[in-house]
């Protein structure tokens, strides 16, 4: 999700700033962080979320869980249409295991979140991700596993 070199850069930068922290004062916009630049249009980014949610819908054997995913797909398609009228991409590769599908969906949405400029879109994607986390826990419960073992739930996109 984030390369190790970028993490190293962040941590190194943090150490430098912390070392000389006391005197610096910054404006609110600096605290908020820079808006993402050079990023793809949001409609294109959301198409990735649509694709992974279609994959998750196909993986679910539980009709109720599949229905939730399809509702998310419909909502995202509507947003993409209103943003650009473009046709979202489909297909991210199949995933037969519903738990893996949910983990992958959560990972893709978490990766997408910082790339969206519109705060309302960030909130919508985050809300969908929370629903996906609930679905993941529900699937774990059904399988007799620990439904909520993590303090920070951040599955990897790969695999």
């Amino acid at each position: 999700v984030v390369s190790s070199s970028r993490r190293g850069l962040l941590l190194g930068g943090a150490a430098l700033l912390l070392a000389g922290c006391g005197a610096r004062t910054v404006a609110e916009e600096d605290v908020a962080g820079p808006a993402p630049e050079g990023e793809r249009p949001e409609a294109e980014l959301l198409a990735g979320a649509i694709a992974v949610k279609e994959m998750a819908a196909a993986a679910h054997e539980d009709p109720a869980l599949a229905r939730i995913e399809r509702a998310h797909v419909a909502r995202l398609r509507g947003i993409v249409q209103s943003l650009s009228g473009g046709r979202p991409a489909v297909g991210t590769g199949g995933e037969d295991d519903p738990e893996r599908a949910e983990e992958r969906t959560i990972a893709v949405l978490q990766d997408l979140l910082p790339r969206l400029r519109d705060p309302e879109l960030r909130r919508l994607v985050a809300d969908m991700m929370v629903v996906d986390a609930q679905q993941l826990a529900a699937l774990r419960l059904q399988a007799g596993g620990d439904p909520a073992p993590e303090s920070f739930l951040a599955p990897r996109t790969a695999g």
């Binding site: 700033l17 610096r24 605290v31 962080g33 939730i68 929370v130 609930q134 826990a137």
Partner: protein, 171 residues
């Protein structure tokens, strides 16, 4: 899946340090103020889970969820420290929790009533995190907040199951 407690704490603190210490004109909607609110609510949620141990939730579930909330609070506190910002008052009692999220169950409340209150506390905390999502573009802050929100989603599923609702809610 991997345990991210230490890594997430480091990354969030690093991100906060990169965006700089708190400006003199910070407002209630500023990133430091919003992070302080999430920190306070995470600790309140931990206290609420402590109170629910054997009293609405099995001991081991309540203990695990309280630990998750405190892990998350550590990451948020480190981010606040890196920003040079203050934490808000630390909730330590059920009265403190009730002051933040009204409706704390009475002594004789049933298990489902207690679970419903915990759902309300989790939702209040999620709302605070949603506010952070609108206040910063910083990737590491957003990713860490997202990982905390996702963990809250798994808690909600367990709590919904306790009240006989479908664990997976719709949007």
């Amino acid at each position: 899946l991997i345990s991210l407690r230490r890594r997430e704490a480091l990354l969030l603190a690093a991100a906060a340090a990169l965006v700089g210490p708190r400006g003199a004109g910070a407002t209630q909607s500023s990133l430091p103020a919003l992070l302080a609110r999430t920190h306070q609510l995470e600790l309140a949620t931990a206290v609420a889970y402590d109170a629910a141990a054997g009293n609405g939730l099995p001991d081991e579930v309540a203990a695990a969820f309280a630990r998750h909330e405190r892990d998350q609070a550590v990451a948020l506190r480190q981010a606040l420290e890196a920003l040079g910002a203050q934490t808000l008052g630390v909730p330590t009692t059920t009265s403190d929790v009730a002051a933040l999220v009204p409706g704390f169950p009475a002594a004789g409340a049933s298990g489902p009533e207690r679970a419903r209150y915990l759902i309300a506390v989790e939702r209040a905390t999620l709302d605070a995190h949603r506010a952070v999502l609108g206040a910063t573009h910083h990737p590491e802050v957003l990713r860490t907040v997202a990982s905390i929100m996702a963990a809250a989603g798994t808690h909600l599923a367990v709590l919904r199951d306790r009240i006989g609702a479908s664990p997976a809610a719709t949007l």
